[in-house]
Structure formats: C-alpha cells, structure tokens
Symmetry: C2
Subunit: 182 residues, 2 copies
C-alpha cells in the first residue's frame, strides 16, 4: 500500500505540481481509501515527505570513471539531465517548490540532500585515496559547490543549463578542491 | 502611486509570503483603490513583477576593497546577510518562491538576477584590469559560481549558511577563475 500511495504521489506531482497535489487525488489514483490515506499520511506534506524518504534510500548511480574530473562531471550531468527529463523533472521541481512552502517538506528535502551528498562524496573519497585531491578536503562541500550552479540557474536565476554549463560547474569545484580552498 | 503600491507589495510579502499575497490587501495597505490596482497591475504576479523591476534598477552596494578576494567575499556576504535580515529576508525568499510557481514571476526574477550579475561583474572586470585574473574570464560566471552555494544551501538543501560558508564559496569561485576554468 505504501508503494502504491508513493507512486500516486509522484505521478500527481509530475502532472499537477505541488500546488495541485491533493489527498483526494492521490487516494483515487492509488486505489487506497481516502480515510486510510488521511489516517496514515495526514496531509499533502506527509505524502511528499514519505515519497522523499523512500527516494533518499534509493541507490543513486554514482559514476566511477577512474578520475575525479570524470566522476564529478558525471554527477553534475546526472542532476542536469534529471531536471531535463520530462517524467522526472517536474516531480523534482515540485519537491523543491514544496520545501519552500512547508517546513515539514523542507526537513524531508534536507534529509534527502544529506543522503545524496553522502552517496556522492564517495567519488571525492576515492580521489583522495588515488592522491588526486588533498586529504583534508571537505568531501561534502566539493559536491555542494559542484552541483550548486545548476540549481542556481534552474530555481533562482531561471536561466537554461547546458551540458557545458554543467561540466564547467564540476570543473570549478574540482579546481577549488585542488587549490585547497574546499 | 506606483511607489505606494510597490512598498505595500513588499510589506505584504514580508509578512505573509507569496502564498498570502492578495490584491485586496495590497490595495488596502497602499491606500490605492482596489479597482485601480486590478486595472494597472492585473493580479498578484503583476504586483510582484513590478516590485522586482524596480528593485533591479536600484544600485547595489558593490564592494571595492582593492582585491578580488575581498570584493567577491563582500558580494557573497551581502547575499547571505540579506536573507538573514528579518525585514529583507522573507521578501527575498517570497520572490524566489513566487518564481517557482509563476512563469511571469520567473521572467521578472530572471531579469532581476541578470541585472545583479551585470552590476556585480564589475568587481571581476576590475580584477582583470589589475592583472589578478586572466583576461578571458567569464565575468558573469564568476559571480554565479560564487553566490550559487549560498542559494543552494538556503533553497535546495535547506542547510544553514555561516559567514565561513559564504567566504569559502567566494574563495572557491576565485580559485576556479584563477585556474582558468571560468
């Protein structure tokens, strides 16, 4: 049942965004009775938080190209192409929008990104082991600085993000890490 | 009249956020008749776009510390402290939230950030003139990469932003620019 409700939540978010998400529609789409959804998930924010909790546990296809440059570029391209994906993009954007309007959704999104940072940091740790980066590097901060320009263009400055923009963001984080700033 | 409506829009955004902004409340607060506000601004999005248009024209206190390191850190601290300000922070956050829900607000915010990038790029141009940075540097991209981690923490990962985080973001952009990546 949890999986059906979660899939319905993601589908409704993709089609109608956060502003159009209702417990009624999720209940109807999932085939779970409305009173059950209300009792177990409470409200729209509960549905979003649960969908995010499960998403955070999913493995993320961290690249392993043999070099930190390739791995970091791969991660930033994953972020960029995710938002470009007609199925996934609207859902991901709806999560970001929901977190701006609901403290509960913000907490769930914070936990989601903490998990993503930790998973992604593995490529930085491997680079330290290979001697590509100094041992004192803040592995999570390298990931933040690498992906931040993509999110900034998409959700703040509302600018397009090309593959070249994404590669440059990854390269900038790498240059800063090599310089000992991160 | 335009200024009264704009001030009322900013005050209402600060108190109630984008979700709580109504033409009625702005009309009442500004002392301008409701039908006039509807005729000239259309709706809530028109009010937000107009407030942003005027904000984009305002001079921004670009630092001039004599070094690109000081100037870039100053700009990122301005961004950080702006969101930390109890008066200004909620208004700025409301603009970001509004742009995620309305294409008109997104266009207005895009124009606002284009103006800010252009104003801020002056510190990078001065650094090129002083010989601190290579001449081929993308002056706008240095600004984007410097401020992006602050926005990413605030609006995406929902993490706190310390003064040290802000300084490190500026230093990372500078290291990338020096390395010839930006």
């Amino acid at each position: 049942m949890r999986d059906a409700v979660r899939r319905a939540t993601l589908a409704e978010l993709g089609e109608h965004g956060y502003a159009g998400l209702t417990v009624e529609n999720v209940a109807e789409r999932s085939g779970v009775h409305k009173t059950t959804v209300y009792r177990r998930w409470g409200n729209v924010t509960g549905l979003i938080s649960d969908a995010l909790d499960l998403a955070a546990d999913e493995p993320w296809p961290i690249p392993d190209t043999g070099s930190i440059e390739g791995d970091l570029r791969g991660i930033v391209q994953l972020v960029r192409s995710g938002f470009d994906d007609p199925g996934l993009g609207p859902v991901s954007s709806a999560f970001v929008a929901a977190a701006m309007q609901s403290p509960d959704a913000a907490r769930a999104l914070h936990a989601f990104f903490a998990a993503r940072h930790e998973q992604s940091a593995e490529v930085v740790r491997r680079a330290v082991t290979r001697g590509e980066l100094p041992g004192h590097v803040d592995v999570h901060e390298v990931i933040r600085v690498a992906v931040a320009p993509v999110y900034y263009r998409l959700f703040v400055a509302h600018e397009p993000v090309s593959e070249q923009d994404a590669a440059r963001a990854a390269d900038a984080a790498l240059a800063a890490a090599r310089a000992g700033v991160l």
